[in-house]
């Protein structure tokens, strides 16, 4: 089965660089920055695209700086169904 695709957004100014997220990530997506943030901490950065959106990093983050997204495949809503057309018709779909 293909792995789920996810993404994380890190609030780098609130991050204190504890590295617990880095330790908790099973996909090694997170590393520490080379530069410090305004508070003087090295902060967590996303370095790989292999995030599965498992939320492990966010669950253990003591400062709640990580937001996690997961790509879900959703059936597109059926907006129109056209059957038995004999002549010319115009269909407009509001969106």
């Amino acid at each position: 089965m293909a792995k789920a695709k996810g993404n994380i957004i890190i609030d780098i100014e609130k991050c204190k660089g504890c590295e617990i997220c880095m330790d908790a990530c099973p996909e090694d997506v997170i590393a520490m920055s080379k530069e410090v943030n305004n508070k003087g901490y090295l902060y967590a950065v996303k370095i790989e695209d292999s995030c599965t959106g498992c939320t492990n990093c966010a669950l253990v983050c003591p400062d709640a700086v990580i937001t996690v997204y997961r790509e879900v495949k959703k059936k597109k809503e059926q907006v129109a169904k056209i059957t038995n057309v004999t002549g010319n018709i115009t269909v407009t779909v509001d969106k």
Binding site: E19, V60, P62, T67, K75, K81
Partner: protein, 258 residues
């Protein structure tokens, strides 16, 4: 003709709870207090009880809990949080009342208040953060400090001959008929965080039943006091703290009713 197909949508699966006030917390990097605060905020959000919850903050590192968890709060003198929670709950029985206390607060100076609150079976939730040390004042020995564990007041390690044994106050209050739900959790790994959240949710939900005190211990780290990095302190906690303070439910509602 059918216009059905698959669409890829990015769904937010985790975000900061709204009850956790959008500000920086003063805790040391990696401190478990932050996770515990967030879980309380998540549960309050999900149960929709932000207007109906009153917290009592302790003395200790979490003295400023009221700056972070966005519900009504009182702050108690050292060790007295469960007594203050008792008063609030008795005057406002329809509110969800919880205290949030460290081990120095709850199991040292506040031992009497803790035991009597539980023995009276007050309908409050006590959340107990056990990091085995007085974090705020610089890492002195607490009643919960492990045998041989070093602290600023046991620099050669806790000698149980002269300093006594770590107090398992959670097991102790579970013996009292006044407690309804007693459990020990941790917040150092994703699975543990999920379990701790479930426990906190139960603790709040049970309060509506008026069946007694709910008591949730969260074994936590104090990496500053333990003089370790956050990741090291969580590993040390896993190995040493959890060996003495095993995780799991100690008293379940069915046990009381049986």
């Amino acid at each position: 003709m059918s216009v059905e197909s698959l669409e890829k949508i990015d769904t937010k699966v985790f975000e900061r709870p709204t009850t956790l006030i959008d500000t920086e917390m003063h805790y040391c990097p990696g401190c478990g207090h932050g996770v515990a605060h967030r879980l309380i905020a998540e549960v309050i959000d999900e149960l929709g009880i932000v207007e109906d919850t009153i917290g009592v903050a302790p003395v200790g590192c979490s003295v400023f809990a009221y700056n972070y968890i966005g519900v009504d709060f009182s702050q108690a003198a050292h060790g007295r949080a469960s007594a203050v929670a008792t008063g609030i709950k008795r005057v406002l029985p329809e509110k969800y009342v919880f205290s949030y206390q460290g081990d120095g607060d709850l199991a040292a100076i506040g031992t009497g208040e803790t035991i009597h609150t539980c023995n009276r079976g007050e309908n409050v939730l006590i959340i107990f953060i056990n990091n085995g040390i007085y974090g705020m004042t610089g890492g002195q020995m607490a009643p919960t400090t492990l045998p041989s564990m070093k602290s600023t007041t046991s620099p050669f390690g806790r000698d149980t001959k002269s300093m006594g044994f770590p107090l398992k106050i959670t097991e102790l209050v579970a013996q009292l008929p006044g407690t309804y739900y007693v459990t020990r959790q941790s917040v150092h790994k994703p699975l543990n965080v999920r379990r701790a959240k479930k426990a906190i949710q139960k603790g709040f939900e049970y309060q509506k039943l008026n069946k007694g005190t709910c008591f949730i211990e969260i074994v936590s780290n104090c990496n500053s006091g333990w003089k370790m990095s956050p990741v090291e302190s969580n590993k040390w906690m896993d190995e040493h703290m959890l060996a003495y303070y095993p995780l799991g439910d100690i008293k379940l509602p069915n046990d009381t009713e049986a």
